[in-house]
Structure formats: structure tokens, C-alpha cells
């Protein structure tokens, strides 16, 4: 079953190559793209099923023994995220029919989309630190291409900021990988787990850990390093911003969780308090930033930052409960952010603007969609029985278990403040009557394109289902958290695999 791992990378890469070379019309490229995403979804589901029943799957690339070669590995945490990423990517590839014009498709939209998802999946399933860096680069360069595709002025302006800060994070990541290699002589993450405690100078390990925190913190848009996100996400076509808002920052969070549970578990004493402070400040900065905005997409961009704070709390509290809350919150966060950006796209299409002052009266025009949007924002805020509620309950439970009452108070307070900008979208765009004269009235449309509606309905259903039936996901999150905090099974899957297969011939 280990071929599933390599297949989940090959499928998006092959689709990328096919859509790049396909001579047909732009629509047919879209259909190929959807077919590729559906295949990826199926593979990821099989992968999740196998990991769930048989435990961690690993595969040594090229048959080289584990600490030497590159390992692909999927534990439950990775497998869950691969499934969620694949489904969001499928939703985006359907949604792209509604707002990605022929020019952009011919410019390679689907190719870059698939390379982006290959990078995301690769980052989730790699077991090698340098390989993680390479997948980050694959993801980054595809995201750059998606960012400037179309090349309007505003996109270039946003892209300059996004590219600059992300390149800095790349360099920091590369340097810290070099340093950890110098300290331990290995780059295999499972091997690092065993060797890092053996390093003589543990203060150097702390320094490298902080470098990793900075590098992944930029990618994840953690507090002082988040400015690139609200500067660029709203300049993009909705399909692209849904993809970015859903997935890109969460890969940074994944990398943070993976490195700090697997490579630097000994750094908890010093790092945890930093993580907690950063998490709380990130949440505050996110919700307060959202309150100052009037563009729906920028409000949502700041909410992406706030949700990163919730995920970091799970890592910072450092208990099984907290970690499973973080896993649950990641699944919920990826889906809800992609959904809300797509809904913002529909609002923009219906109302002719993304600005709250120019919107209004949507409830009268489209009551059904309005109710759907209301449910989506209630999901984000965390009204029972929607999925955000379970995520927050889990975090609060974890806070209670470790008696961090300040954290609980902050989570509750911030959830309350989250309410304000979101309900403002509701009351301004949907509830108040349409403004008498709008400068963009001519661009209004009355219909929702089916290509935009299908992914919105699909993601809403998925979230609604998680909300009504949270037990299976909570259980899966619990088990992922246990294996994250006690990674013996993960290490055995990587290293014992190698000793069994001393002869490379056994592999094939």
C-alpha cells in the first residue's frame, strides 16, 4: 500500500504536465483539472483508510535506507490533512470555471494549481527536512505564478509584498536546516528525534528551534510576521484566494506542529510560553484587524490570521487534548476559510462590489444564499452544533485541563470579537437595503454561476456534516494527537522499515 504515497504526488504532477501541454480549448483543460483532483481525492481517501486501519505508512524513495534516503510517510495527521487539501483543491478547480477566464487558463492556471497541491501534499507526507524545504519551494513558486497570473497592477503590488517576505522565510528555513544538519548529521525527521537530544550544546538547539519558528511562522502568518497576508490575498481572483486562504498558511502550521513535536520535543519548556503568547497576540491582531476593514475579502484575510492563533494555542498548550483540538481546528479552518472566500466571491458578483458600503439588500434578492452565508459565519464563530463550536470546545477543554484560565478567557473573548466584523458583513451586505446609487451598479449580476455554487454547497455540506457528526473526527484528531506527542510508531515506521530492507532489491 506504500505506493499510495508516491501516487498522491504523481497524480497532481501528471495532471499539471497534461494541462500544460494540452492543445485543446481552455474548457477541456478545466475538465482535465477536475478529473485530476477527483483522482487525487480518491487516492487520498484510500490513503486515509489504510493509515486508519493499518497505522503509519512509509516508503523509502529509491530503496535507500531510512536515515540516508528520503522517506515519504503518512501518519493519521498527515493523511487527514491530505484528504482535506485534496477536497478543497477539487472545490477550487470546479470554482475556477466561474472566475478564471480563458486568458488565465491558457496562461497555465490549472498547471500551477496542480503543482501547488503537489507541493502541499508533498509537505504533508515527507519525512525528510530538506525534502520539506523542497516541497515548500514547489508550493511557493506555484503560488507566485498564481499570484501574478493576469498581471493587473493591483496583483503585482500585492505580489511584491508576498514574494519578498516569503523569500526571506525560505532563506531562514534553508539556513536553519543547514544548522540542524551541522549539529546532528542527519535530516531525516525520525532520526532527528533521536539525535537532537544527544547534541552536546543544547542552547544551540534552542537557537535553531527559534529559527524554525521564524521560518514557519512567516509561512503561517503568525503575529509579527503576518503583514504580507492581508496585503496580497484580496488582490487575487476568488478561486486563488480561496485556495491560499484555505491551505497555504495551514501548511506552515503543519510544519510548526511537526517540527516541534518530532524534532524539538525537548524545547517545550522554553518554546511553549513563546508559542502561547504569539498565539494570543496573533488572534487579537487578526480580529482587531478585521474590525477596521470594510472590504469583505480583507475582513476574511484577517480572520485567516486569527484562526492561525487558535491552531498555535493547541501546539503551545502541549497536551493530547490541546493537540487534538489543533488538528480538529485545522480541518475546520481549511474548509471554512475556502468556503467563506468563495461566498465572498458570490457576494461580490451579486452586489457588484466587495465593499460593505456599496453592498446591500442581498437578503431580498437571494434569501437562500443569505441563509447559507449566515450558517457559514455562525460556523466560524462557533455556534453549536456547527463545527467551529466543537473546535473551540476542545481548545477550552484543553485549557481547563491544564488550568490556563487566561488562555480560556482570551479564547472566549476573541470568539466574541470575531462575531462583530462577521455580523457586520451580514447586516451591511444582506440586511440593510441596497444603497440608492452605487458606482459599480453596472457590474451587478443576478445569477449565481453553477460553477461557483457547487463547491460552496459541497464545502457547506462537509462542514455541516462535521458539525452534526463530530465524533469520528474528534476521535481521529485524538489519535493523531497521541501519535504526535508520542511519536514512537512514527519513528518505527521510518527506521525499522529500513533495517528490514537492507537490500535495495527487496523494495521493487
Amino acid at each position: 500500500m506504500t505506493w499510495l504515497l508516491i501516487l498522491s504526488l504523481l497524480v497532481p504532477m501528471t495532471t499539471a504536465a497534461v494541462t500544460f501541454m494540452w492543445p485543446g480549448r481552455s474548457e477541456s483543460k478545466g475538465y482535465i483539472s477536475i478529473a485530476g483532483m477527483v483522482t487525487l481525492c480518491i487516492i487520498s481517501l484510500i490513503l486515509l483508510y489504510n493509515v486508519n486501519t493499518q497505522g503509519t505508512l512509509s516508503n523509502q524513495m529509491g530503496g535507500w535506507q531510512a536515515p540516508m534516503g528520503i522517506t515519504l510517510i503518512a501518519d493519521l495527521f498527515s493523511a487527514i490533512l491530505v484528504v482535506v487539501a485534496a477536497f478543497v483543491a477539487l472545490a477550487v478547480s470546479i470554482h475556477s470555471f466561474s472566475d478564471i477566464g480563458e486568458e488565465k487558463v491558457n496562461g497555465g492556471f490549472h498547471t500551477f494549481l496542480h503543482m501547488l497541491i503537489a507541493g502541499v501534499v508533498g509537505a504533508f507526507i515527507t519525512g525528510d527536512l530538506f525534502n520539506l524545504y523542497v516541497w515548500f519551494e514547489v508550493m511557493l513558486i506555484s503560488s507566485f505564478a498564481l499570484l501574478v497570473l493576469g498581471g493587473s497592477k493591483i496583483q503585482l503590488d500585492g505580489a511584491v509584498k508576498y514574494v519578498a517576505i516569503n523569500l526571506i522565510s525560505t532563506v531562514v528555513l534553508l539556513a536553519s536546516i543547514g544548522l540542524i544538519y551541522g549539529l546532528t548529521g542527519t535530516l531525516n525527521m525520525a532520526d532527528l528525534h533521536q539525535r537532537v537530544p544527544m547534541v552536546e550544546n543544547q542552547s544551540l538547539v534552542s537557537v535553531v528551534a527559534v529559527l524554525f519558528l521564524i521560518a514557519f511562522g512567516i509561512k503561517a502568518a503568525v503575529f509579527p510576521l503576518y503583514f504580507w497576508l492581508p496585503a496580497s490575498y484580496h488582490t487575487l481572483p476568488i478561486s486563488v484566494s480561496a485556495m491560499f486562504a484555505g491551505l497555504m498558511t495551514k501548511v506552515g502550521v503543519y510544519a510548526l506542529i511537526r517540527t516541534f513535536t518530532l524534532i524539538f520535543p525537548g524545547e517545550h519548556d522554553s518554546i511553549d510560553i513563546v508559542l502561547l503568547v504569539l498565539a494570543v497576540v496573533t488572534m487579537i491582531a487578526g480580529v482587531l484587524g478585521a474590525m477596521t476593514q470594510t472590504d469583505i475579502r480583507r475582513i476574511l484575510s484577517f480572520h485567516v490570521i486569527a484562526s492561525i492563533g487558535f491552531m498555535l494555542l493547541g501546539l503551545g498548550l502541549n497536551s493530547t487534548l490541546a493537540m487534538s483540538a489543533a488538528v480538529f481546528y485545522m480541518v475546520h479552518g481549511i474548509l471554512i476559510k475556502a468556503l467563506l472566500f468563495m461566498m465572498a466571491g458570490i457576494i461580490g458578483r451579486l452586489g457588484g462590489s466587495y465593499d460593505l458600503s456599496e453592498l446591500g439588500g442581498l437578503y431580498q434578492d437571494r434569501p437562500g444564499f443569505s441563509i447559507l452565508f449566515l450558517i457559514a459565519i455562525l460556523t466560524l464563530i462557533g455556534i453549536p452544533p456547527l463545527s467551529g463550536f466543537w473546535a473551540k470546545v476542545m481548545i477550552i477543554e484543553a485549557g481547563l485541563a491544564s488550568s490556563d484560565y487566561f488562555i480560556i478567557a482570551m479564547v472566549l473573548l476573541i470568539s466574541l470579537i470575531t462575531f462583530i466584523p462577521l455580523i457586520r458583513i451580514w447586516s451591511e451586505a444582506f440586511w440593510k437595503s441596497a444603497p440608492a446609487q452605487s458606482t459599480h451598479n453596472n457590474k451587478r449580476s443576478t445569477d449565481i454561476a453553477p460553477a461557483a455554487l457547487i463547491p460552496v454547497l459541497g464545502l457547506s455540506l462537509a462542514l455541516f456534516w462535521i458539525g452534526l457528526q463530530p465524533a469520528w473526527l474528534i476521535d481521529a484528531a485524538d489519535r493523531s494527537a497521541q501519535s504526535l506527542l508520542a511519536p514512537q510508531a512514527y519513528i518505527e515506521a521510518v527506521l525499522s522499515d529500513a533495517t528490514e530492507k537492507v537490500l535495495p532489491e527487496d523494495q521493487s
Binding site: 511557493l140 507566485f144 493576469g150 514574494v163 539556513a175 543547514g178 544538519y181 496580497s232 472590504d295 457590474k443
Partner: protein, 149 residues
């Protein structure tokens, strides 16, 4: 040798940080070229320097040989870095052509108060700022984030 390399890394790092702190996008770009080479030098140095030996094991195995892994890593990083720098170079050129400036402080198009941007993404030709859209909180929105460089 290690001392020499660390001094070199330190000097290059400070130069590149100084360049990257500039508001000028072109200077930033040069800083980027330097700093990615700094990262490569770090990998190369901490991987262990072996003077005058190839990264090959000669038959018999008693010869001195250099660690080949850092070299492989650096090679990968150089290729990736080259791609990223070329992309950024073109992006800077395009941004200069489109926005008419290389000063990132003047690149405020994406961070104007909302309302100046229409749904149509080619709405970069803003200008028409009707009095109705300048809400009281719009100056806060325009000023808050961004220009991290």
C-alpha cells in the same frame, strides 16, 4: 578555515540585511541574491569543511574525502534560489512598468481603503474616488498593515 568562513558569512549577512531593509526593490533584490548565498555557505560550512579532498571515496577507503551531502544540498538550493531570484527580478521589472516606482512605500495600490477597488480585477485604474466611499475608518484601513519591507 571555519573562522574565515564564519567571518565571510557574517559580513555577507550584514550586507544583505542592510540591502533588504531598503525601500528600493532593486536593492532588495540584490540583498536577496546575497542572502540566499549566505544560506548556502552556512550549509556548506556547518556540514564540515575538508580542504583539498574530493567528495568521493577512493577504492580502499583510507583516503580523506569531503562530505558530499552538504554539496548536494547546496546544489539543490542554488538551483531553487536561481529560479526564485529570476522570478523576483521579472516581478520587480513588471511592477516597475505597471506601477512606475521601485519604492515599496509608494506601492499602496493593494492597500488603499476598500471601496476604491471594484470587483473587476482590472480596476487598477482607480482615481474616481467619490466622496461617498471615504468613510471615517478608511484612513485606518489604508494605513494599518503592509509595507513590511
Amino acid at each position: 578555515m571555519e573562522i574565515l568562513m564564519s567571518v565571510l558569512i557574517g559580513v555577507l549577512m550584514s550586507v544583505s540585511v542592510w540591502l533588504m531593509l531598503s525601500r528600493n526593490l532593486v536593492k532588495f533584490l540584490f540583498g536577496l541574491v546575497l542572502i540566499s548565498n549566505v544560506a548556502n555557505l552556512i550549509i556548506f560550512t556547518v556540514g564540515g569543511l575538508t580542504v583539498g579532498a574530493p567528495p568521493l571515496i577512493v577504492d580502499g577507503g583510507s583516503e580523506v574525502y569531503a562530505n558530499s551531502l552538504p554539496q548536494a544540498l547546496v546544489l539543490t538550493a542554488i538551483v531553487i534560489g536561481f529560479g526564485l531570484v529570476s522570478f523576483t527580478l521579472i516581478l520587480a521589472l513588471k511592477a516597475y512598468q505597471a506601477l512606475g516606482t521601485v519604492d515599496v512605500d509608494e506601492m499602496l495600490l493593494a492597500e488603499q481603503p476598500a471601496g476604491h477597488q471594484a470587483v473587476n480585477e482590472n480596476a487598477a485604474t482607480e482615481e474616481s474616488a467619490p466622496a461617498t466611499t471615504t468613510t471615517p475608518d478608511s484612513d485606518a484601513a489604508g494605513k494599518s498593515p503592509g509595507t513590511p519591507l
